[in-house]
Amino acid sequence: MVERTPFLNFFTHLILFAGFIFCVAPFAIVAIAASHNLRDVNDVPMSLLPGSDFWVNIKTAWVTADLGPKLLNSFIMAFGVAAGKVIVSALTAFSIVYFRYPGRMLIFWLIFITLMLPLEVRIVPTYAVVANVLEPYQTILDLTGISWLIEKVSGVQVSLSLGLLNSYSGLILPLVATATGTFLYRQFFLTVPDELTEAARMDGAGPLRFFIDVLLPLSRNNMAALGTIMFLWAWNQYLWPLLITTDQSHAMAVTELKQLIPNVGGAPEWHIAMAGTLIIMLPPLFVVVLMQRWFVRGLIATEK
């Protein structure tokens, strides 16, 4: 506030308030619709006073879409992706910042390029790889003649096969295979003073010791930020789980939303649909509210 501008301040408040309504109204409408019964939710216009059936609807949605196990699956997947990213990215960034080996820049660029093409655009072949993750290696062995050699020498035919459809690893690993976190750590490691490394080496610490005892404790903030946004990102994945989980025991909460859309011709059960939406919206919303600082910081740091 630099000067007094009562007129402009009034407009500022007005527009900001409109923006506030714009952001909050959908949440409010979902919550209110979830508290009505079948007749009230289809009233035109729908009453904005909450009805009394909130818990009944939540329970019905929970049972209809079988949300208990689905939410658990979502949690496992989101934690898996977040943990995988936090660990794998730290290792790689350590390698490309703290060592000088031939091909280091090549590795750097190989990883950097993965930022360009997200999973959605290469979804069809990635699906085929997950159906048998060892297929790339089998093909390489075949092409280089190694499998022929092995067959000649030992009489064993090499056929590597490991399907990951309908498994947690199939859900998690392809989502970990991008460069997002690596650059966050790299930027941070570059700001760590060289004197720390020198001191650690003077005290006789090897790279592993330095990594675990000095670098990781210093990166705690970055880990929290990266973990938060990766958790949200993984929780909100839709296309990938939709393809990989054909069997209900591995289905995610977000992909279950489709089961809740009222059928054409059936009863328009919007109150149940909205109750389900509310349940699925809440965990990421909690994370955003509780971890706001890390969330904002993580977003801004990873994308730059």
């Binding site: 949440f27 289809n42 997950v130 295979a177 296309l239 919206m281 904002v296």
Partner: protein, 294 residues
């Protein structure tokens, strides 16, 4: 920037990079290569491997009117939703940055939409914009037949644009606000001393200083509108009515996994990759020139 002090035992260094390299080889480079291979071959119906068909897959896709329709729909979607989401977020962030009483509330609440999964907000908006219940039904009562995303292509497109923009207003707001807050207060105060008003300060100081953020968000929003739209389309319109909202990623999914046309879907993936890269290059080439980096 390079480290002055490093470790000399580089075998250990390479070992640290191995997990990520294995992952990106298996789940990124191999599939990407596979997509190129599939797009140039055709799978035989009774097995027996793929036969080489050169650019035939691309030719048949590019001569298909449905595909061009899908490209147009994607570009319209990308253009309008990016414009809306960025404009609304920019205004809200600029006003929040004035730090009037209560601005902490907006700082907290306006980022919420970005946390929500695209399909979840799509279902919420499907209800809010439903023609027979919810809120557009009121409009339909006054002007019968005014709004029906199930039948009218424009209405369906409008619905998915609203849902997508809502989410990305939250995202853009985070970045715009951070950019505004990075501008030194003393600069604003000095300009105010010289007698410039709020609007003048915005155009002459703040706007030029946040152009890097605007540019960055433009690139990200357009790229995301091609990818993150899948969940919204699948829940709200399923590509309909009459393919009006059959955006490119949705078409890859439905041709590849419902139509089981892997070669066609792979060729479409390649075209989509080229399109995204080309759009990014064009933005860097023509818009970045106008960006002021400090």
């Amino acid at each position: 920037m390079e480290k002055r002090v490093t470790f000399s035992r580089w075998t250990i260094g390479i070992l640290f990079a191995v997990p990520q390299l294995l992952l990106i080889f298996t789940f990124f480079y191999w599939p990407a290569g596979q997509a190129v291979y599939w797009s140039l071959t055709l799978q035989q119906p009774w097995g027996g491997g793929n036969i080489w068909v050169g650019l035939d897959n691309f030719r048949s896709i590019l001569s298909n009117a449905d595909y061009w329709h899908s490209i147009t729909a994607s570009l319209v979607f990308a253009g309008i939703s990016t414009g809306l989401a960025m404009f609304i977020a920019l205004v809200l962030a600029a006003l929040t940055d004035r730090q009037l009483a209560g601005s902490w509330l907006y700082r907290v609440v306006l980022i919420w939409p970005y946390g929500i999964a695209a399909p979840a907000l799509a279902l919420a908006f499907r209800f809010i914009l439903a023609p027979e219940a919810g809120f557009m039904a009121v409009v339909n009562q006054v002007w019968p037949g005014f709004w029906d995303p199930g039948l009218d292509g424009t209405d369906a497109m409008t619905s998915i644009i609203i849902a997508f923009s809502w989410k990305y207003v939250g995202y853009n707001f985070i970045f715009f606000l951070a950019a505004f807050q990075a501008i030194p207060r003393s600069l604003i105060e000095a300009a105010a001393m010289d007698g410039s008003g709020v609007i003048r300060r915005f155009w002459d100081i703040q706007f030029p200083l946040i152009t890097p953020t605007i540019f960055f968000l433009l690139v990200i929003n357009i790229t995301e509108s091609f990818q993150d739209s899948f969940g919204i389309v699948d829940i709200m319109t399923a590509g309909g009515p009459a393919n009006a909202t059959n955006l490119m990623v949705y078409k890859i999914y439905s041709d590849g996994f419902k139509g089981l046309d892997y070669s066609g879907a792979a060729a479409q993936s390649i075209i989509l990759m080229i399109l995204i890269v080309a759009l990014t290059v064009v933005q860097f080439r023509f818009i970045e020139r106008r960006v002021h980096y400090r």
